[in-house]
Amino acid sequence: MSNPSEEIDEVSVIIDGQEVHVKAGEILIDACESAGVDIPRFCYHKRMSQVGMCRMCIVEVDTGRGSSLQPSCMMNVSEGMVVDTQSELTKKVQDGVLEFLLLNHPLDCPVCDKGGECPLQDQTMAYGPGETRFVEEKRHFEKPIPINENVFLDRERCILCDRCTRFADEVVGDPLIQFIDRGNSTQVNTFPEDPFASYFSGNIVQICPVGALTAKSYRFKARPWDLEEIESTYPNPLGDRIVVQSSRDQVLRLQGLDSEAVNWGWLSDKDRFSFEAFQSEYRLDSPLVRGGGLNKAEKGGAGLVASSWAGALSIVTDSLKDVNPDRVAFLGGARLTNESQYAWTKLAKGVLGTDHVSADLGDELPAHVLLGLPRATISELCQPNNTIVLLTSDLKEEYGTLFIRLRHAAKAQGVNIVELSPTRTGLSNVAAVSLHPLPGEIGNVAEALVTGDIPREVGGITGEEIANAHEYLQNSNVFVVVNRSSIGQSTTPIIDAITSFQKLDNCRFLPLVRRGNTMGALDMGMSPGLLPGRNTLSSGSAVFSDIWPNLPAKEGADTKQILQNAADGKIDTLFLIGADPISDFPDRSLAKSAIQNAGTVVSVDLFVTPSVYESDVVLPAASFLEVNGSHTNVEGRITPIRQKVTAPGTSRPDWMIASEIAYLLGHNLNIDTPEDVWNEMTSRSAVHGNLGYPHFDNDQNGHLITATGRIPFLPSQERLESRPVDSYAMRLIIGKRMFDHGTITQMSASLRSLAEASQLRINQYDFERLGIDEGTKVQVTSGDRDISVTVKIDDRVPRSCALIYANLDGADPRELLNEGSHSIDIRIDPTVRA
């Protein structure tokens, strides 16, 4: 240590006789791995705390005081350490542990789902003693028991490594599985009649080192050696990295891929088990047209019937012949790959010449918020001592792996979370501050928090609470995560809040989106006024004019206006690109009337959604498991989507459909592969630079698009007045659950039943005030609109607020929305029982 100011971040250690340089303080088992020396382990998992209990990773270590046996998962490397992973003693001890583990482990590898990919089996083959010396009776438990709808537990196979239990408690905060009993009788189990109701239960199947935990969707389906796999991306807002595994052109399993930047190997159950939807019998596998039938397509007939591509496309192109560009509109596109998004934008804006193109379905933050704020990555958020402000809904419901990362940051990385969510959330108990401003008031609360001009009370938050939270904002590293927390609240108060936070020095943001590739859609120009690569229509036309012949002259309408125009009979052709406005747009009746009154409605989709059902032409598209391309997550991170199986029937990639329509109209998009798109797009993009197509292919962290500022954030000029809730009313929160009536959930056998029925949730205090019984139906009114719904007590909901989750069976809270309001007050009538 000649120079104490010089930071020593590497040490040299001797591993099996080789001197290697490793990161100081690294865990020995990891250090060995990076040096190419594999040490067997069962309990160690690098994304969880160390418990050092299986004792499999014991090696001989000498730190200068003579050699001793040490679990390598518990040791940190230090300078000069000598490690022997191959010594006779090491071998003897490891063999011993392996033999101990096998004593009570059934020898049912041939029928075990894990057989072929089981570390215990592998270790035994590699090192284990050939025959058993254990002639006694093995431990017995009832064979596989379900611990929830999707996961089975076989306690006889369990080697008590504490991975699943640790995951449940430590990683996701659902300690519903536990070690029970003691010593040699220890077992993992749930409390009687209290299943492992976790949104993340599939992860325990993935990390179980033996076949003790199995997923219903995979049990007995395949042997590991029959599986082929490919690394890809789940097209959700976070772009969780996945491994897609298939056999005989059937996807059998999705596993989380450990990307340092994003999901650390974890997945939510919604994503993990959703692959079933894409191969369900309900998948569209040929074009549909309204009326005449195969090859005799004609508009105006009653139901949708199967057609040919030629037939279906001729209806589409007919409707586009000589059409006024102002009477063509495109909605959706946020579930597509970047490449398909580009192709559709090119068709719309470059060929048809319309700018009525919007990927937003009325529930996203405005494009200037998503693109205009200084953005931060998840990993930047999670640096020690940061303050993270959550202007969001419950991340556990909607952004599973971000929830996991932030929970870890708060618990283990010394990050302070200041939560400003409408209700208590899955992160409340790890947050430094958890406040729940009244919907509509978040802007005023944020202003007080930032300025420290502290009122007695604002938006349901006391001055004292604000003062406490204000302290955390004095940090030089404040990050704000923001989303459209409730469609019951307009975006105005959110923009007010962001405007306030922008007053803080260096404050950076992570705006979240609802639909998987909304970020990509914006970057590919699927928004009025935008062209690909964050070029605007006004400034970017010159960039594209040589290859996009018919660029629109003026900025197009936004989603609401498009729907309004359609409803008013001003749209001749309406494209729904994987969009279902009837289910998703806040004003359901407007969406319905738009689709009914538009000329020709062309849906490009995977399933017959309510909006598809009302369309005139339906073109079946390929899913993300069936195409190549790329995805852009909320950070602006681009990662590859790779085809693993073939699309059903005649369905085809979205980009190909766009290309074909253009061709039939006499234009060549010059797109024959996704790579063509990529090359064209990057040659014109202001932000994608010279990022080559295969560039990010082999990096699990993908490639980050960092440039911001080209599309400026538009701060609010005038702040919304505070509007307290009167004592007879309650303020409405419309939430989103992980499992709802969304198409993918409903089409996946494993997930379908997990969606609950619609309920109005209020806290105990308000419940008693109303004097009603839990489970009874009440009449809920807002102005002249009303719904009837059952009431449930939920103490996560603050006083004077009522929470209803959207898109569940039963009452639809969208019925209560009132055009133009920034927040919605409802009345609950306990006497009128509908």
Binding site: R55, I58, G96, H105, D108, E136, K138, R182, G183
Partner: protein
């Protein structure tokens, strides 16, 4: 011998457990004295006394107290009253017969170290002990010996009586802390080696045994130097031993460290009175079930930590279990192994599986299904739990419980292998094999 009784002086006094009886016999003088001194002076006295921990490991209390990191607060005191090591019987008597002495020791310790809450963890099965401590605490609170503003000073500390619920492993100090936090009593990983740095609720914590703390009032009242004069140089003071098994007058005795020998204790008239029925000594366990066994030739070893350690065993928890020549060594061995197998917490594979396997093999041998290869198997399993089967044991486990099961087997086989062979030679069937496993679906 005119050494004073330090910890057991009130055992013969009818009302020694009451506040009145305690005060009458000089109780709480140590606390008064302590409050006249500065906290560090009190700590200094304990260091001077060289008081060794009485819970088993024999680590010097004064030094352990010094491991508290400066300026991390709050700090806690946890009293280990979980006494469950087979053969050990002293903490319960200290708890039942002189609870105030223990409480006084706790309060003084908190004063000396700035510990702001004390948890007195008493083994769950000791209902009477719990009652006595509760009673004593209630009296002490009323009279201001515990709680807020102790004896009118600014010094305040609560002593909370906490109940165990039956698990030997909870005696291990980090498991004790887990248990006190409401968790399964599974030992924590080392390092840190002492909870003094990270203990209860992640805060600095001193864990001491009941007997250790019962010495504190005397030390503070009479001075560390006076204490250090008693006993041997490195094993100061007195120590309570329970002598049980095949002796004429089993009992619990406070004796001076170092000067007394095993022979004195086991054979002496004023102590255990010799082997019962005129039988002869076969073996004895010198310090609780985990300790390797001693024999005839070890009788003259003095009761002194370092000497016993050097002879290949330990004084441990002051539990001497005597076996005469009628003892069935295989059964005795099985008994001790069964204990560790039943009490394994289940965390470490070698302990959870290994101790249980050892028990099953011994079971089989006793039931007439032994095989000749079982003896080597026993030794090899031992070797896999504690490589080299040496003393002190090498561990493949987090805590020493698993390796403790190795001592009785190694001891019994070393000297009485023929008794195992005898069982095996009488075996009715050499292959009782119950090979199960395979699919049950």
């Amino acid at each position: 011998m005119t050494i004073p009784l330090i910890t057991t002086s009130r055992w013969g006094i009818e009302d020694g457990h009451t506040l009145e009886g305690y005060l009458r016999t000089g109780g709480y003088q140590g606390l008064h004295r302590a409050l006249e001194m500065s906290p560090e002076e009190v700590h200094e006295e304990v260091k001077q006394a060289s008081l060794l921990g009485r819970g088993g490991a024999g680590f010097p209390a004064g030094i352990k107290w010094g491991f508290l990191p400066p300026d991390v607060w709050p700090r806690y005191l946890v009293v280990n009253g979980d006494e469950s090591e087979p053969g050990t019987y002293k903490d319960r008597l200290l708890i039942e017969r002189d609870p105030h002495q223990l409480i006084e020791g706790c309060v003084i310790t908190c004063y000396a170290l700035g510990l702001s809450q004390c948890f007195l963890y008493v083994r769950g099965e000791m209902a009477h002990g719990q009652e006595r401590v509760a009673q004593a605490l209630n009296e002490a609170y009323i009279k201001g010996y515990v709680g807020k503003n102790i004896l009118g000073t600014e010094f305040s500390v609560d002593v909370i009586l906490h109940w165990g619920a039956g698990a030997y492993i909870v005696g291990e100090e980090t498991a004790l802390i887990e248990s006190l936090e409401g968790n399964r009593g599974m030992p924590r990983l080392k390092p840190p080696y002492f909870p003094a740095s990270i203990g209860l609720y992640g805060k600095p914590t001193i864990v001491n045994n009941v007997e250790t703390l019962s010495n504190i009032p005397w030390i503070v009242e009479h001075g560390g130097e006076a204490f250090a004069k008693i006993g041997a140089e490195q094993s100061t003071g007195t120590r309570i031993f329970a002598v049980s098994g095949h002796v004429k007058t089993p009992g619990v005795f406070e004796v001076e460290f170092g000067t007394t020998t095993f022979r004195d204790l086991i054979m002496g008239e004023q102590y255990a009175g010799g082997i019962r029925d005129g039988n002869s000594l076969k073996a004895f366990i010198p310090g609780g079930a985990s300790a390797p066994w001693f024999y005839e030739e070890h009788l003259d070893i003095p009761l002194e930590k370092s000497v016993v350690d050097n002879a290949g065993s330990m004084l441990g928890s002051g539990a001497i279990v005597v076996m005469d020549d009628t003892t069935d060594i295989v059964k005795a061995c099985h008994n001790v192994v069964r204990f560790f197998s039943r009490e394994s917490c289940g965390k470490c594979t070698p302990c959870r599986e290994g101790t249980n396997w050892l028990e099953k093999i011994l079971d089989r041998i006793l039931n007439g299904y032994g095989r000749l290869e079982d003896i080597d198997l026993l030794l090899d399993v031992c070797d896999n739990i504690s490589p080299g089967i040496s003393w002190p044991p090498k561990q493949t486990t987090i805590c020493p419980l698993g390796p403790s099961a190795v001592s009785p087997i190694a001891s019994a086989l070393e000297r009485y292998r023929s008794e195992f062979e005898a069982y095996i030679s009488l075996s009715v069937d050499a292959t009782p094999v119950v090979l199960t496993g395979g699919a049950h679906e």
